[in-house]
């Protein structure tokens, strides 16, 4: 596809609104074109993307396209990336048309906004069919607290109450109310919930002797200090205490000597376990315990010394990738017989250039790929890897910010889609490299190209006729945000999430001045 050069002019950031009158006509024209495309092409997804930004007659026309048939309503209700305004309108339609299935689909959609969920609840009723709806509403992360409280107060259904306990957004006071009902099967869920407060956890602890519940209380961030001062009886409880950030060094020392390996492993993971207690764990019979020691952020040089020759490759692998592992040990790991250890060494943040050069010639492609993904590669090593034929290595080169644009342009023509995708994901890829990739066969690639910061809005505008409906929805959504009639230039900038740093890195171009005439 030939790409005519479009004059590019940086936007006057100091006073974007001041320029609005002179450029207002173009966004209006482009907006009208998008609305026309969505309606004339009978494009459900495109219309949905524009609907939140439309007003007046445009919104009416788009709404007629979106909500006219039950088939389309049902399809939209399942779209997790459908705009909130569309889902909110669908909730009203579900009530007007008494469509229970539509309501259930909306309640299942994670993007349905809180006000739409309230509307669904207001008309849900008490029938058997509504049971599923109540359960979904109780579990929905966008459900307003008032709705969740209302559901809790009106239901005895265990499945609905369980859904409430599993909702991460349920507030602490509601969890307390649920605990006070004394329903045994909810106790473990309440003890898991991160919003459960200390008092409720204490009551849960006192109200049961079930290990499954108590272990969760002991693992909870708000677990009362008093419970962490002694060693409990069961293994799950011990494991929870051993993992807890507020467990004392004395208790952790004792837990590090427990018979159960999972408890010892938990103690080995805990940053609070004193160095003295870790010594014995370095020589633990269970490899999983030694792996946990090797992965600690505070691993001491003498521990590295002990574990570097461990028979378990995963112990050596954990050490080799551990930023706390002294650099001098990496010379040993790059010679390890296990390729996984050598790969781990290639990912060590302070792996020296001479070792990286050695790893770049490794027989195993996965090791060379580990090197290729590093941002701190010497130019010679990167050039050497760029001549590799393995796809994983080439993906690493294509993602590397130091790879030359000429090399990226060649990789952008590679037969394997993974390599081309890696080029697209390279934030340093220039517009010249990216432009041919707008014609990628894979819709996801085209969307990623569309969203690349180095493309101009003029380049993006030429992608508006994408044949893939979901890709087109992303494209229309972007232009809906930036071109809609009520959108000011300042709002356009805000919608595009451009930071001051971005502005310095990539001059922002006003879409209104860049798009080619039709």
């Amino acid at each position: 596809m030939s790409t005519p050069q479009i004059p590019i002019r940086p936007i006057a950031l100091a006073d974007p609104a001041a320029r609005a009158p002179s450029v207002a006509a173009t966004p209006r024209r482009h907006w009208r074109e998008l609305v026309g495309l969505a309606l004339e092409a009978d494009d459900l997804y495109g219309a949905a993307a524009l609907y939140p930004y439309a007003c007046g007659h445009d919104q009416e026309r788009l709404g007629a396209r979106l909500f006219n048939t039950r088939r389309d309503r049902l399809a939209l209700a399942t779209l997790s990336f459908a705009p909130a305004a569309v889902l909110a309108r669908l909730a009203a339609v579900a009530h007007e048309s008494s469509d229970t299935t539509l309501g259930v689909r909306l309640a299942r959609n994670p993007s349905t906004p809180g006000r739409a969920l309230e509307a669904l609840a207001a008309h849900a009723g008490e029938t058997d069919e509504a049971w599923r709806l109540w359960q979904l509403l109780a579990r929905h992360a966008n459900a307003p607290h008032a709705l969740l409280a209302a559901i809790a107060s009106r239901t005895e259904d265990l499945a609905v109450l369980r859904a409430l306990c599993e909702n991460v957004d349920v507030p602490a006071d509601l969890l307390t109310q649920l605990e006070q009902r004394g329903i045994a099967t909810l106790q473990r869920l309440l003890a898991i919930h991160l919003a459960t407060d200390e008092e409720t956890l204490t009551r849960l602890w006192n109200s049961t002797r079930a290990n499954a519940v108590r272990a969760q209380v002991l693992r909870h961030p708000y677990c009362p200090d008093a419970l962490l001062r002694s060693i409990p009886a069961s293994v799950p409880e011990k494991r929870s205490v051993a993992l807890h950030a507020r467990t004392s060094a004395e208790v952790l020392t004792l837990l590090a000597r427990e018979d159960d390996a999972t408890v010892r492993r938990a103690a080995a993971v805990n940053p609070g376990t004193p160095a003295g207690a870790l010594i014995a764990l370095c020589f633990d019979a269970e490899p999983a315990v030694r792996r946990a020691v090797a992965a600690r952020a505070d691993v001491a040089p003498r521990v590295v010394d002990w574990l570097a020759g461990d028979a378990d490759a995963w112990v050596r692998r954990s050490l080799a990738r551990n930023p706390a592992c002294p650099v001098e040990w990496l010379s040993r790991f790059v010679q390890d017989e296990e390729s996984g250890v050598r790969r781990a060494a290639s990912r060590h943040p302070r792996c020296p250039a001479r070792l990286l050069a050695l790893l770049a010639t490794d027989d195993v492609a996965w090791v060379r790929a580990g090197v290729a993904y590093r941002d701190d590669l010497p130019r010679a090593v990167l050039n050497q890897l760029a001549r590799d034929t393995d796809v994983d290595v080439l993906c690493g080169v294509a993602r590397n910010p130091a790879t030359s644009q000429a090399r990226l342009a060649r990789l952008a023509e590679h037969d394997v889609p993974d390599v081309r995708r890696a080029v697209i994901l390279n934030r340093q890829a220039t517009r010249r490299v990216l432009l041919p990739l707008r014609d990628e066969g894979y819709p996801l690639h085209r969307v990623l190209v569309f969203e690349h910061p180095n493309l101009t809005d003029a380049d993006r505008w030429r992608m508006r006729l994408d044949p893939d409906s979901e890709a087109r929805m992303r494209i229309f959504g972007y232009f809906g945000r930036t071109l809609a009639p009520q959108t000011s230039p300042a709002t356009r900038l805000a919608h595009r999430n451009i930071t001051a740093h971005d502005l310095q890195q990539h001059p922002v171009h006003d879409p209104t001045n860049m798009m080619e005439p039709r």
Binding site: R70, R71, R188, A210, A212, D439
Partner: protein, 266 residues
């Protein structure tokens, strides 16, 4: 040389759906249409042969039996490089079973006279796995089902196929051509259509034919030409499954009490 690839527009379902009032199918509003997954592989195998022997001048023809909406799936095949697309439909075909569909495809095969016919092993919606083999039976052609590998030189009087059997076993079978092969997933890696191909396919014509134009008698079309009919589609009632919470010991105790309860001992 010509390869006929028979495809199907299949309907997938979301979690919540309703059945038709007559109880014989899912309500049409709940159908989400797409090209049958197996057919991507069948087309790719045809394209692989076409591109591997450019001198042989292989023509790849895709065909389907379906209403207007099936054009979308035919265009996907054109976008990937198929030379022609044919859609056969009349309202009489509503309710046709795999044999009824195969009768129409057999009439098309007699008209087009391909050297090979590729079909998917099955369609993902109804999963009969019968159309391809019924087509071979009606044509009285050699056939091989669940083909996971194909070795064929264009113009050769026979093809060697690797059939997938139970238990991870394979059978290597030599088949005389013309033949009907139903191809299994994984036989190749289907391509994505290029953007240029998609745009060009949008403007290409699709040949539309009726069963009558293919010479299929009215008495053999659709339900009349079928050997089976769907009596009822239903979702079985949920079993009485329940989650057992607690520690392993508590769960085991509860399980033991449930077993005793069902045996009438509790």
């Amino acid at each position: 040389m010509k390869i006929l690839v028979t495809i199907k527009q299949v309907a997938s379902l979301d979690e919540d759906f309703e059945l038709r009032d007559d109880g014989r199918d899912v309500e049409a509003d709940f159908h989400v249409f797409d090209l049958n997954e197996w057919d991507h592989y069948a087309l790719e195998e045809a394209m692989r042969l076409k591109e591997g022997a450019q001198d042989a001048g292989i023509e790849v023809v895709v065909a389907t039996v379906g209403p207007d909406s099936a054009d979308e799936e035919l265009r996907k095949c054109l976008a990937k490089g198929a030379d022609r697309a044919i859609r056969i439909w009349s309202d009489d075909l509503e309710g046709a079973d795999p044999v009824g569909i195969a009768r129409v495809l057999a009439a098309l095969a007699r008209k087009e006279a391909p050297d090979l016919i590729f079909a998917g092993v099955q369609a993902s919606d109804h999963a009969y796995g019968a159309t391809g083999m019924a087509l071979a039976g009606l044509l009285d052609w050699p056939h091989a089902a669940v083909v996971a590998g194909l070795d064929y030189s264009p113009g050769s009087p026979c093809a060697t196929v690797r059939r997938e059997l139970e238990g991870g076993a394979y059978a290597t079978v030599k088949v005389q051509t013309p033949a009907v092969l139903t191809l299994q997933l994984g036989i190749n890696t289907p391509r994505y259509a290029s953007l240029r191909g998609i745009k060009q396919a949008a403007a290409r014509s699709i040949e539309t034919l009726s069963p009558a134009e293919l010479g299929v008698p009215a008495g053999e079309t659709g339900a009349a030409g079928s050997l089976s009919r769907v009596r009822r589609v239903y979702v079985p009632e949920l079993g009485r499954a329940q989650m057992i919470d607690g520690t392993p010991a508590e769960q085991a105790a509860r399980l033991a009490s449930l077993i005793k309860e069902f045996r009438g001992e509790a």
